[in-house]
């Protein structure tokens, strides 16, 4: 249709013919499945013009008893707004960090709504009042690759509900049956009478209608958007340099703040008062619990002042002598202790007694930094009555709670605004930098844009915990009859005062292996270390896949099997898993592969609702290693956005590879030794391998994708090195042993 008409009109003969052809009526009969509506709410009075739909999923006012969850539309729960100008606003409640969560949600809603993608606008919820979900699954925190898997059904039903209302409105207007209507590209058609009307022209009528008792969802074979690649809405903005990140917030009278936190694992500033005299006119020194902040009219001036401050710290001897050798010792000792049982099956003792071969190996991985390209940054404006923040952070609810606590303000006085994140990878779950911005603003009375220097970002990270594992296998006639494993590290949830019965995160991908192994005993031993740890892309899987998949390779070689065939035997009863494994083997020509000086290695993992198999190709010569190619086959159920899904795996693979090759945070005399990308290197174009990524085609419920690609890289690479050299690397990163370069 060449002329974009907003309201109602008659179609031309050509249009009717074209529509009859291009719209397959059958695919829209919606008989796929009827579902009862969830807690949808609709709004029709003045707050937001147009048809507004959202969820009423039992929100509480924080710290208040459950209020009457009356169906109130506020900017928070207005998810979908269709306006008379025929535009569709989809308001996304999650944080954008590069994972394109906005595109994903919008594509799902647009699919069921039969929206014209061109007319869809994606907004990240502005000016959110601090509400918290009773149902933690539906909270706003963006974490654990859960956004799409949690919200898929809700988003579909939301789109379908809006479509149903619009169809009813059209049917009423034309006095025809709903089943004679076609919905296509934000318009509703009645072909027998050659009529057409835009969504926009129907919103007023639709908003007066009661919500339908049930709605139908589309059949997957009639999807127009899901599994394909509609254009991302944010890409051009980002290319033009117009995206607003945490660092970019500007307000009148804005001051810039730099921060210096105690570099020791534990300690505090003792000479704050003496430091005041070093601060130039026009700048302010602010004391925070673990350091100081300088505010100035320029971030550079503030940082310069900080760099020259003779700060003294009170550090006890333990903290001052803490180092990485000690970490390795503590982890190694921990492996010899009993620990706590995570999983048991069969009788491992008997199975080991009967085994004709046993195999044991100890693995260790270091602390890792997230190192997003945008250092921690937040803007805050605190007055007597209000705290407003503009932040690139993953959990507005946690941030609101933390601010309310820290500032002694009621939750109603906190206003949170979300900005794009320049990468996160789990770092921006934390609220430390948000609190700092608020404290600096409170102390100075100005709005403050706080930014960490790169060394602060590296050294004051919440690190992926260092972990070790001891694995033991009992093999009988080539078959893996018994497996024991114990892993050891800090208990991440416990370090946050979360009284977990066992280290849940350390059990991910360790206690619940996909393989059929008749006798297993899997344990964990938590140790205490004075290091601040956090959630690092793929969390427990990030180390466990290295332990388990390296060891699988060792077992296969010991049993004289091809590691791919050996995994096939262990996954024999699982067709979905086998298909992924076979797929990657085929992509990499695993069986026919032969290249002198080169070798392949494989890894397999399940996590976040997805199944991932990875193959790495490396070459090794005179102590230098080069990763040439990575192949990755993924089953994440229904793919939402093909290009976005591929991008997530690309990124996750590179993230895993950076860690495998170089990633290591070490401590010396109580301080982190690394400070920038120079001594905490990441992959660049120079050592970038070629990536080959394929997805299984199916319509299972969508799994998470942001993290699942990361864990398999290190074991695949290490296994590939073994296939070339016969050398088994059990401690990461590789740069400890080998020159890692492409030249």
């Amino acid at each position: 249709m060449n002329n974009p008409i907003l309201g109602e009109r008659f179609l031309s003969r050509a249009e009717v013919a074209k529509l009859s052809n291009c719209v397959n009526n059958r695919e829209l009969d919606g008989s796929a499945y009827h579902i009862r509506r969830r807690e949808f709410i609709k709004h029709s009075t003045g707050v937001i013009a147009g048809l507004t739909l959202g969820f009423n999923i039992g929100i509480d006012r924080v710290q208040a008893a459950a209020i009457d969850a009356s169906p109130v539309i506020n900017p928070f729960n207005a998810w979908l707004v269709i306006t008379p100008d025929n535009r569709i606003a989809i308001n996304v409640s999650k944080t954008e960090m590069g994972q394109k969560v906005g595109t994903s949600f919008a594509v799902i809603i647009a699919e069921e709504l039969e929206a014209d993608w061109e007319k869809v606008d994606i907004n990240f919820k502005p000016e959110m009042p601090p509400f918290i979900h009773r149902n933690t699954q539906l909270q706003r925190l963006t974490y654990g690759s859960t956004s799409v898997s949690t919200w898929y059904a809700y988003c579909r039903e939301l789109g379908a509900t809006a479509k149903s209302l619009l169809m009813t409105a059209a049917a009423n207007r034309w006095q025809v049956s709903e089943s004679s209507l076609i919905v296509y590209q934000s318009h509703i058609y009645h072909l027998p009478s050659w009529r057409c009307i835009s969504f926009g022209a129907l919103v007023e009528d639709a908003s007066q209608l009661p919500l339908p008792a049930s709605v139908s969802l589309k059949k997957s074979n009639s999807f127009r958007y899901l599994g394909k690649s509609v254009p991302h809405k944010d890409v051009r903005r980002k290319v033009l340099g117009e995206e607003i990140y945490g660092i970019d917030m500007r307000l009148p009278n804005l001051r810039f703040a730099a921060v210096k936190q105690c570099p020791f694992v534990d300690g505090r500033v003792v000479n704050f008062d003496a430091l005041l005299s070093y601060v130039p006119e026009g700048q302010t020194l602010v004391s925070i619990p673990n350091g100081v902040i300088v505010t100035a009219s320029s971030w550079w001036s503030a940082q310069k002042t900080l760099d020259e401050l003779p700060i003294e710290y009170d550090v006890d001897d333990d903290a001052a002598s803490f180092n990485s050798n000690l970490v390795s010792q503590i982890l190694a000792q921990g492996l010899n202790e009993e620990g706590q049982q995570l999983f048991n099956k069969g009788d491992v003792t008997a199975a080991f007694n009967n085994a004709d071969t046993t195999l044991e190996a100890i693995y260790e991985v270091p602390f890792l930094a997230h190192a997003p390209l945008e250092p921690m940054s937040c803007t805050a404006h605190v007055t007597d009555s209000k705290c407003r923040v503009w932040m690139a952070q993953q959990g507005p609810e946690e941030a609101a709670l933390a601010l309310s606590h820290e500032l002694g303000m009621a939750i109603e006085q906190i206003e949170i605004n979300m900005l794009s994140c320049g990468g996160s990878f789990g770092r921006r779950v934390e609220t430390d930098f948000v609190i700092q911005a608020a404290l600096a603003s409170k102390a100075t009375g100005h709005p403050v844009n706080l930014l960490w220097s790169r060394p602060q970002d590296t050294q004051q990270d919440w690190f992926r915990p260092a972990f070790a594992a001891k694995m033991r296998a009992g093999i009988t006639s080539g078959l893996l009859e018994a497996l024991t494993g114990i892993n050891c590290g800090q208990n991440l949830l416990q370090t946050r005062g979360n009284p977990v019965p066992f280290d849940i995160l350390a059990s991910e991908g360790f206690a619940n292996l996909p393989y059929n192994i008749p006798n297993q005993n899997i344990r964990n031993n938590s140790v205490q270390l004075p290091v601040t740890i956090g959630f690092w892309r793929s969390v427990g899987h990030s180390h466990n896949a290295f332990f388990v998949e390296s060891f699988m390779d060792e077992i296969a070689h010991q049993a004289n099997y091809d590691p791919y065939e050996y995994r096939r035997y262990l996954l024999a009863s699982k067709p979905r898993e086998l298909a992924v494994l076979d797929k990657v083997a085929k992509m990499a020509c695993w069986k026919r592969y032969h290249r002198p000086g080169y070798g392949l290695g494989m890894a397999f993992m399940e996590g976040f609702g997805s199944i991932v198999a990875t193959v790495a190709e490396v070459s090794v010569d005179s102590e230098s290693v080069q990763v040439h190619q990575l192949w990755c086959a993924v089953d994440c159920g229904q793919v939402i956005h093909q290009d976005g899904a591929t991008a997530q795996i690309e990124g996750a693979l590179i993230f895993g590879l950076s860690a495998c090759l170089f990633g290591e945070i070490t401590f010396r005399e109580g301080q982190v030794e690394q400070s920038t990308y120079k001594d905490y290197p990441v992959i660049t174009l120079k050592n970038m391998p070629t990536l080959h990524i394929q997805f299984m085609k199916n319509t299972h419920a969508p799994g998470g994708l942001g993290e699942a690609g990361t864990p398999g890289v290190a074991p695949a690479v290490v296994n590939a090195i073994f296939s070339v050299t016969g050398q088994r690397i059990r401690k990461l990163p590789l740069s400890r042993y080998l020159t890692v370069n492409k030249e």
Binding site: V235, K238, C421, G644, A647, T684
Partner: protein, 155 residues
């Protein structure tokens, strides 16, 4: 007052001559497309052109660029810039997008040199923590081919 020329526009700024250009762009001129990633000339997020040459402006002082022609992502609108930006969109290169303005500036400078091959692309120092390199390569290769400076292999 120091006077500088950014994106063909003359500005007078009242700052210390040792203030890095990056912070003049971001704080004085509010040209926010140029990003801060490290402040040590490592990551390339702050790459701009100074007289057509790529420079990491977090380590260049305003005093050093007086009277020189500075181009930022906001001003990269010549044919090479247009082609690059289109290819970047075409290939959906950005994830978080934070590194991308700097990456595009580096790529543009590479193309200006009139000779691009696999090797010269691999030499670009920019860091993308989201790992978009495969698409970056493709976008540069395609642009170089379009403007007739691709000297590498045609696969």
């Amino acid at each position: 007052m120091i006077s500088i020329i950014v994106n063909n526009k003359k500005y007078e700024v009242d700052v210390e001559p040792e203030k890095p250009l990056l912070w003049v762009l971001r704080e004085e001129l509010e040209l926010l497309g140029t990003k801060f990633g490290c402040g040590f000339g490592i990551c390339g997020a702050c790459t701009v052109h100074i007289d057509g040459e790529p420079q990491q402006c977090c380590v260049i002082t305003i005093g050093e660029v007086v009277g020189r022609r500075i181009t930022t992502i906001e001003g990269l609108n010549d044919r090479v810039g247009q082609c690059l930006k289109n290819q970047w969109v075409e290939n959906s290169v950005p994830q978080c997008g934070y590194c991308q303005p700097g990456f595009i500036m580096s790529a543009a400078a590479l193309i200006y040199r009139g000779f691009v091959n696999e090797e010269s692309i691999r030499e670009l120092p920019n860091i993308c923590r989201c790992g978009t390199y495969q698409r970056v390569k493709k976008a540069i290769y395609t642009t170089a081919d379009q403007v007739g400076v691709w000297e590498g292999s045609h696969e």
